[in-house]
Structures are given as C-alpha cells and as structure tokens.
Symmetry: C2
Subunit: 129 residues, 2 copies
DNA sequence: TCTTGACCTTCCTGTTACTGGAAAGTCTAG
DNA sequence: CTAGACTTTCCAGTAACAGGAAGGTCAAGA
C-alpha cells in the first residue's frame, strides 16, 4: 500500500505519515522496488492507533509508550491505565488553569464598557499598579 | 537599568526580555556606553504589561496589539474589549474541547481494571475496529 | 596589579509536531 | 510521448522562548 493510501485510510496527512516513519514511530514494513514506502495492514492499524491517541491529546512519546503496550500481548492493563491516568491528570490540571483564566478574563470583559472612551478595566488590570 | 534588573522587576527571565527586544515588542529606550541595553521605567511598565497579558494567555501578536492600545491615550475601550472577548472565545472553545476529551478519557480510565491482565478498554478504544 | 566572578553582548542550536516547498525520480493514461 | 499525479529526499519555518558558546565589561578583593 502506497503512503497516500495509508494516509487516507488512517485519516492522516501524507506528510505526517512520512514524519512518523522518520522518527521511528510507525515505520512501513518495507519499500517497493522504486523505493516507495510500502504499508501493510498492521502498519495501517498502528497509524490509526496513533491518530486516535493523538486525538486524545497524548504526546508523541506517550504514543510511543502506548504503541509498545498495544503491541505487547503480555501487557498488564495497569500499565496502560497508569499512562492514561497520568495524561488525564495533566488534562485536568490544564482545565483548572483554563477555568481560572477564563473566569477572570470574562469578569474583565463584562466590566469593560466597550465604548469609545479610553477607560478600560482590562488595560488597568494588565498595567503595573 | 540593566537587563537583569528589568527582568527581575518584571518577573521575566533575562532571555525573554532580550527576546522581546529582538522582536521589537518591548525595546529599551537606548544602550549604555558599553552597549548594554538600558531600560527605563516606561519600558519596565511595558514588560510587566506584557508578562501579565502573557499570563492571561494572549499570544505575542495579541500582546503587540494590546500594547499599542495601552500606549494609545485616544484608544476606545471597545477595541480592547473586542480583543479580549475574542481571546475569551478561544479559551472557551479550548475548554469545551478539553472537557470532551477529559470526559471520554476519564470514562475509559475508570472502565479499565488496571490489573496484570492485558484486556484494556483504553487500548480497545484506540485500536481500529 | 591581577584575578575572580558576575554581569553583559551576539550568534547558533534545539524544542513540538508537524507543514510547505523545491528538485528530482516514477508511473499511468491518453 | 507527454501531462499529471504520484513518490522520494532535504531544507526552512512555525511559537516563544531556553541553553550554551565565545567573548567583552566591570567592581571587589588578595
């Protein structure tokens, strides 16, 4: 299977698939005679797997770990769970940070008159006291 | 004022202050005889302003716009408000995205036994069907 | 006077996860 | 035989810095 077919089926840009091969994340099992990357169904499954993991916000190193667990028939689900739980904690931390940010910004926006006068609590808040 | 003093007072790393000067975001008003960047209180105020705006998640281009408004005594608060509101909308979009992510991931984590057996709904969810 | 240490300068590289583009080779259809 | 749609490698750029090298400057202490 040529790279564009693998990419289309995996739902990834060709450039990304090539990049994943470059960094040894998902390599095609071989090359054709004309030096084209040649993907099989196993590699395609890995591409799909990585795309989904990326959609979940896992970093490339995390995807690498997940992929290793995915391929390890003797894995323990505890290892997978630990990885996912750790990522979940990161997401929740970012959520808290974003929520605090949003609340204060929303407060400022609603406090600002939004007219043609220069007085603005948003600027005031950013200014040194 | 030397760069390390300005940086310390602004709560920024020296590298960052130098970077802001390089990209013409906040430039020191001049140089000393020995070619050291020389900051005054106005430049310091801008550095503080930018740091706070960055803390609020504004991008460098947005900071540039905010800084221009900050310096414009004839600004209309509507312009500031529009910029902040737009950024707020972005934050809220990211919040929704993160919330959806978190919910699904949390669901998967809680569904995973986390024992020494390989069966794992997290892997299953990432796998091609 | 000399030296040590703490500054400062510029310049270059690396980070994340790609994306865009150039130059060149390959294959298929008309 | 040629046009186009592929493919390849390699190089540059993205955001917002951080790290580090090589070298200049300055004040304090032996």
């Amino acid at each position: 299977m040529k790279i564009s077919d693998a990419a289309r089926r995996a739902g990834l840009p060709v450039k990304t698939v090539r990049y994943y091969a470059d960094i040894d994340l998902v390599r095609p099992p071989g090359r054709t005679d004309n030096n084209y990357r040649d993907y099989d169904s196993a590699a395609l499954a890995k591409l799909v797997f990585v795309r989904r993991a990326r959609d979940f916000g896992f970093s490339i190193p995390e995807c690498r770990d997940l992929l290793a667990l995915y391929e390890d028939r003797d894995r323990s689900s505890a290892d997978v769970r630990a990885l996912a739980a750790s990522h979940l904690a990161e997401i929740e931390a970012k959520q808290r940070q974003l929520a605090a940010l949003r609340d204060e910004l929303a407060h400022l926006v609603s406090a600002c008159q939004g007219n043609d006068r220069p007085d603005c609590p948003i600027i005031d808040r950013l200014e040194a006291e």
